[in-house]
Symmetry: none
Subunit: 560 residues, 2 copies
């Protein structure tokens, strides 16, 4: 397979999530994580996948080793390294031996473009740096490797000393590079500078063997995506970036924004058309693998990217999506969402509850009563936009469609210090809490009363434990459900300890996630409410394929 | 005060965090939150602060009402609204009466630019839309208001029907607008389109009474910041955005990126020079107020924005910061972080503890042990930036200068449902909590043991009550002290109910306020820790006018 910029509207994607992305503070990839991510990127149709710097750490060596066992179906796996060290030959540099051992067809070599980095950073001469570039590329070529050359700090380098910077590129081109990639390593450039300097490089194309150029940008100015677009518009043919914009400091250019911008807005071809629809799924799967919460507000792929809140927006978007959507969300595999809040109008409510399977007419007094209830509860501190499960239960209640699968009659939760506890000697680094919570609950399930108790790290964990003990006997599926997130907000903090507390609890059954809300002046009661609703929601029958049409009569009927 | 674009390099900032920012899914502002944010923006030196749409909801009415009691020191507070409704006069539109009642000097009116929105969205004629713009602006002008005109969907409108779009702007200009703001409402434009269309508008300037232009961008393409920069470079003189880029869907242009890009990179003046250093602090304070975790990877103001990992970067950056930093972090009030270094922070520590009255030398092993302890505790989830009282107690402990005025030996807190409680019938609008908390504590004060108990709305209120009962006998001054704020953050939410909880409690004696922090897997224990420290802090002797100099001898001596 040849990956070539064979057409003026083709842009070659180069993913560096596994190398530059892994530099993000708080992100740590196991070999297994890396293998999973490589497969996901391959499935998305990314042509170049940079796997890491084999030799720099044992993990990357192992990753490349395992990749030889299970090669990618489409993509080229690329090994990444620097030019040889100053003052030794390429063949003698153990770093380059490790690169060869990784066994990839392509190697990306980064070299210094900026004189300041050569003299101050590497502590060597400008001539030796050129030799390092030349000899590294020549050596890798002699060993059958195809080389992508990353010109580190290119834009800063060019601003400081354009002649020397260009010499490094000419050297790489003459030593056999296939691509020359201009890197904005510090992320400080703005789009107009990227455009100008890229154009200046292209004007020197005859000295660079007419090699195609690439662009590698960082987000320190908040313009990584725009910088890459500016470079493509100036004539660059390869774009480097990471999924979800992971990367050191403020991250790399986010491929999840770049790809749809290039393909849907600028008319370039990056991915096969049918693959673009997998973008949202791949973005979220990779955030699962790296165990970082997805950014709900990410362009194109975020949960909120096509969420409509204001009443005016919702009614307009229903008439014509173009009015408030820049692309059709399905093009990137995302979907439109209508968010309910006190700012919602009737049309928000209607479309939301249609999603629960209830079709009502705008003039139906039940719709108004749902809206009224929503506003009353939001005044009390409820917030349903992040707690759709509680909203659905509230709607069911008002429509007479809520079957309480259990009723909790009382609880008592006590939290007690252990015997050797003291406020004076308390060691916060001890790990385990020095206090213990115990919850007892009384519940009626299917006409039968149960009294159960459980211990926990905290009062909410204890309550959760006690509830489950009572429910498992009747609803064994509860076992699959766990709390996946827990948020507390004090609503009127100024009122001190008598302030109202809003608790949001997220649940998961391994496939789906749902969130409930509870509000009370007592944090335990607020948590209890959210817990009860979350478990109740999990016991709802799977949503019916036929929505119930409330428009034709006063009672529920199916849409025929 | 006049806010004018009186100089070609001046860019006027217009903040819409309180209005467009509040559209962010998951963000909900109380009136109190809005007042706090307005003050922070005023302190930063933002000239225009859009406060909301008075009349659209009771909260915004109340906000503008309260702002009349406590006006801003520098900024113009702006009310936001649409043009009058179709088919009625401006004077008869109750929406505009609510705007006038808000009592601001400036009003921002948004109108439709896009024919599609007029005919399909509003369902009215193109002529009526022009009349709505004209009459709304004329009416507000006749009532002494100065008007900023937001041309909604400007860029889409211009692409679809440039003639009609321009007619709407001409109408607004002739009807007395002071500014014409081009809005990329759907966020779908890319920088080159913004530049082209802005230039086309400026070419029509003679029809627009040479009014200055503004830009309002959204981040749906991941280019909101670059889009605003492109408009400024094309000649726009007002930039609208939000702090931290909060906003509907993918957010608005982030002022925290825009301001330093404009001021430090492009040479425009936005903020007084000394204010720019408050940017990081204001960004983080606002994320505290709205209770959203700050984005650590945000450009310029994020915790990781100037974080360097070990090795090449660190040594290079220490030789010359220019090598890996696009700006000096101090310029925006952020700081360099060397992720695995013990060196960082010593001078911070020294200056902080000098504020408590302890003067130590950098080489003193005690300083290092304070730094070590700080790092250990921050790893455990503590955060002392917002809890200096706890930090001072920790420093005193390590210097042997902490006299525990009391020691708590045990507590037991139980929370119980009232007799008629049921999860099924629970009415969240009932006001009083339906559960009651009771706390019992055992304390040693001045060698005497006391066991006390108290009831409360919630477990923390009960604990606070019991503690006070025991302490009042010995320290009557405790009576003056009350809890003025209480904040809870779950640190690793994904761990569900076994996550760690960080509690910040703010105390006040009517004159001073101080904050303490507690962290535990048990929320009750975390709250207890913060409570105990807050009360202990109130019992510290008034800080001595003479700092204790630790430099001259091993024991504490006064500076003479």
């Amino acid at each position: 397979m040849e990956i070539k910029s064979d057409h003026p509207t083709r842009v070659i994607l180069y993913d560096t999530t596994l190398r530059d992305g892994a530099q993000r503070e708080g992100l740590s990839l196991s070999v297994q994580d890396k293998l999973q991510i490589a497969k996901l990127l391959d499935r998305l149709g990314i042509p170049f996948i940079e796997g890491g710097w084999p030799g720099a750490n044992p993990k990357d060596v192992q990753f490349f080793w395992q990749m030889r066992e299970e090669p990618l179906t489409q993509a080229e796996l690329v090994a990444f390294c620097s030019t040889r060290r100053p003052g030794r030959t390429a063949a003698e540099d153990p770093m380059l031996q490790a690169i060869l051992a990784a066994g990839t067809r392509y190697v990306t070599v980064f070299g210094k473009s900026w004189d300041l980095h050569v003299t101050q950073g590497l502590g060597t001469s400008l001539e030796e740096n050129l030799a390092m570039i030349r000899e590294t590329l020549t050596y890798l070529g002699s060993q059958g490797r195809r080389v992508i050359y990353d010109a580190e700090h290119w834009f800063d380098a060019y601003r400081h000393n354009p002649d020397y910077a260009l010499q490094t590129l000419v050297t790489a081109a003459e030593a056999g590079a296939e691509w020359l990639v201009l890197c904005d390593t510090n992320g400080g450039s703005l789009p107009h500078e990227i455009a100008q300097i890229t154009a200046a490089v292209l004007a020197e194309s005859h000295h660079l063997r007419h090699l195609p150029l690439g662009i590698h940008t960082h987000n320190d100015s908040g313009t990584a995506v725009a910088n890459a677009l500016a470079a493509v518009q100036a004539g660059v043919r390869m774009v480097q970036g990471t999924i979800n914009g992971y990367g050191e400091r403020c991250g790399n250019a986010d491929l999840c924004s770049l790809i749809p911008n290039l393909q849907l807005k600028l008319g370039y071809t990056c991915l096969p058309e049918e693959k673009l629809q997998h973008l949202t799924e791949i973005s979220r799967s990779i955030s699962e693998v790296v165990n970082l919460a997805p950014d709900d507000h990410a362009p194109f792929v975020g949960l909120s990217a096509f969420a409509h809140k204001g009443g005016i927006h919702v009614s307009a978007v229903q008439k014509n999506p173009l009015t408030y959507e820049h692309i059709a969300p399905e093009q990137v595999g995302n979907c439109r969402r209508v968010v309910v809040s006190e700012q919602s109008g009737l049309s928000n409510i209607l479309s939301k509850i249609a999603g629960f399977g209830f079709v009502l007419d705008k003039s139906d007094p039940q719709v108004r009563s749902i809206l009224e209830r929503l506003k009353t509860l939001e005044l009390e501190g409820y917030q349903f936009e992040a707690a759709e499960a509680s909203f659905e239960l509230m709607v069911r209640e008002l429509l007479g469609q809520r079957s309480h699968p259990f009723e909790m009659l009382s609880f008592n939760i006590s939290t007690t210090t252990r015997s050797d506890w003291s406020s004076k000697d308390w060691d916060p680094t001890g790990g385990e809490a020095d206090v213990q919570s115990l919850a007892a609950v009384k519940i009626v399930v299917q006409g039968q009363t149960r009294v159960t108790a459980a211990e926990g790290n905290g009062p909410v964990a204890a309550l959760d434990g006690a509830l489950r003990k009572a429910l498992l006997e009747f609803y064994p599926q509860i076992e699959q459900i766990h709390l996946s997130d827990y948020k507390v907000r004090i609503l009127n903090g100024q009122a001190g300890t008598s302030a109202k507390t809003r608790v949001l609890v997220e649940f998961s059954d391994g496939h789906h996630r749902w969130t409930t809300v509870g509000v009370s002046t007592n944090i335990i009661e607020a948590s209890c409410r959210a817990l009860v609703e979350g478990l109740e929601y999990s016991l709802l029958p799977p949503s019916s394929p036929l929505p119930i049409d409330y428009r034709s009569s006063a009672t529920a009927t199916r849409v025929s």
